[in-house]
Amino acid sequence: MNEQRYAHILKGTAIGLWEWNILTKEVIFSEEWAKVLGYTPDEISHTENLWEALCHPEDYEKSQHLLESHLSGESSFYESEVRMRHKDGRYIWVKDQGKVVSWKDGKPEWMTGFHKETTQAKIDAEIKRTFIDQAPGAIAMFDTELNYLAASKQWIIDYNLPEDIEGQNHYDLFDIPERWKEIHRRCLAGEIHQAEEDEFFDRTGNPFYLRWQVKPWYRGDKIGGLLMQTSNLTTFKKLQIERLRQSRFQETVFNAIDVGIVACNEKKELTYFNKTSREWHGLPSEPVPASQLSEYYSLYQADAKTLLAEKDIPLLKVLEGQQLNEDEIIVIKIKDKDRFVRVTGNQLFDEKDRMIGAVVAMHDITEIIKSTKEKNLSDTTFKSSFENAPIGMALVSPEGDWIQINQQVSEILGYTEEDFRSFSLKDIIYPDDLEIDSVFLNQLLQGKKDNYQIEKRYFHKNGGIVHAILSVSVVRGDQNAPLFLIKQITDITNQRKYETDLHKALELTKNQNERLMNFSHIVSHNLRSHSGNLSMLVNFLKEELKGDQAELVEMLGSASAQLTETIEHLTEVTELQRNEDEVLKPVRLKEYLKFTENTLKAIIKENNIRFIDDTDSDILIHAIPAYLESILLNFTTNAIKYRSVDTDSYVKFETQKLKNEIILSISDNGLGIDLNKHGEKLFGMYNTFHEHADSRGIGLFITKNQIEAMGAEVRVASKVGKGTTFEIRFPYEEKI
């Protein structure tokens, strides 16, 4: 009965209803149910095994399992999607749903439900999942509980996940920080979150970089879950960091070197200046056209006068593909100073080897050029002074080998330059002089002194001995190591010879002088005592003898007295030398003239002589007082002695002050001396020039010696019958 009723109802519905009596195994289908599988209700019988027969064997087990769990009350309804065989033989996807509707004796009795075909939906889902699976990026699809619905292969690889990810929970697989959970929640509420680049750290702490997006997906107008998409930027990022480091390194190097670097692009626009080139030029405020580059940056040819033509600018030459010279030198005027710059350069290419510009490096060689010039100059100067030196010069290695010898050395020693190559200087040094030289040389090489000078003897090529002064100085290089020695040889052989001769002459004079001294000693001591005795004895005789004998004794007495006087004079002469240590002092000439006049007052008056003192009263002369006294007395006495008896006689004193001397003139109008005859002997010992009773000839000799002992000199002018003028020249210093 019931069966009939239900059958009727089922027939009329448009859905594939079914009813199943669990206890009796009775099954009732609607017409539509059969139609889903391609059958008319007549074509299939409502047998107990019908469903099992049509269900895909692989799906049956699963659906039985789901059914059991509903019947046992574990699930509130039964649902299973399985493949069923269609009438045409293919399997279609069918979704089966049902619920227990009645119980008998506490056991489920009737269950009712329906099924419908889901093949298209199933294919659609499959396509979608395949789309996600096969997506080239890392993408994953989650339901609202963050269970995986699908994940692309890339995702699986990127996050090192198992293949069979579907159904697993994202939060179980990863330790997701709260920040991300918040983002997930917001996205599930409809927001979209993304970042172009975000830094993460993996389990080992290594950084990795992601671009990511999280957004909801919709089922109808309801949010079905989340889509996450990430791109791993780590490799790219690492490259980027590496490139940054490289460019920073290059920049640092470029800025650290003292080389100006400038680059341009293919349009001749300057694109890069390093620190040095910036310092030279500053940065232009606006691009400088190629035609004005030389003027703008003060680029000149190596002559520092001609501006560089555009085609000669090294950077542009390089850009044009021209090879630069080995020594491409230009001058850059920087703050009015000429900087000589050597330029090297290359073209620049991009990754496809397309030429995109050029770069030049500019080395400032101003100092090098300057020091080279100076060196050349000093080399030339040295060479010229070396060759033309008036003394012998030789460059010698510290080991004693000749490096260079000038002409003078050859002339001094007689050897040709060729000869010198065959022996060392040591070979021609006088053996006795070898040691002293090597002592000094060692001190020189050890750095204890920089030069020394010694007197040395060499053997001339002709066998003679050359006396020389040897000056040696050392030229040191790095670490003070001696590079070479400069030897200067001055020939003093002639000086040596003169010195020796002079020395001999001196020795001879000394000996003679000594003999003379001994002689004078004999005179003054012995001879004098004999003459003294003689005169004493004569006096005794005088007392005892009378008459003719007395006259004889008188004459003997006179001879004895003359002998005594002669001896006294001789003694005086020798005394002169002994008094050399007498000291000169400034004295007033006028006072000494007064003294002279007073001393000789008696004979001046007696002989009617005019004593004329025309000297300046302020004249001071440097003199030994006793000598000056004696000199003045002597000249005055001479003038009186040798006066002309015919004329009105005078003796006149005059002074004349010159720059460095004072001249005292003593003139008279007396007899005069024939200088032609007697000039040379005038001041000699025992020369008399007048037949005059008192003339002894010793006076002028002593006077001259006294004058010379005071550093002065005496001259005479005289004419027989006219008079005599003596001129004494005293050295004079302004200070006295």
Binding site: H525, R528, G532, M536, E568
Partner: protein, 134 residues
Amino acid sequence: MKKKFNTVCLIDDDPIFIFGASRLMKQAAFCNSLIVYNNGKEALDQLKPIMASGDLEKVPDLILLDLNMPILDGWGFLDAFITFTPPKPIEVYIVTSSVSNHDKQKAKKYADAVKEYVIKPITPVKLKEIIERE
């Protein structure tokens, strides 16, 4: 005739001078007794005991001293003499043929002992001068 000096000592090596000097001294009534020594050493050797004896008669009032002598010259004698402390004042006259300034200056260094530097030959005038001075 009263003699001016009691004892006079002549130190000289020249026998002619000794002869001449003694004769002149006799003529001038110069002294009662004359002691003659031929060099400085002999003089010192003899004078030392005389001065030590305390016999003032024998100690000379005056010494005439030559400079140039063998064995010990006049300077040597003076150097020793000035260290003595004679029992009565003794005047020393250097009597020499040396006219050298050097010797004259040197004599001034012994000014305490040496009364005068007399140059030979000695004359009656000089002797008279000495007598009158003392």
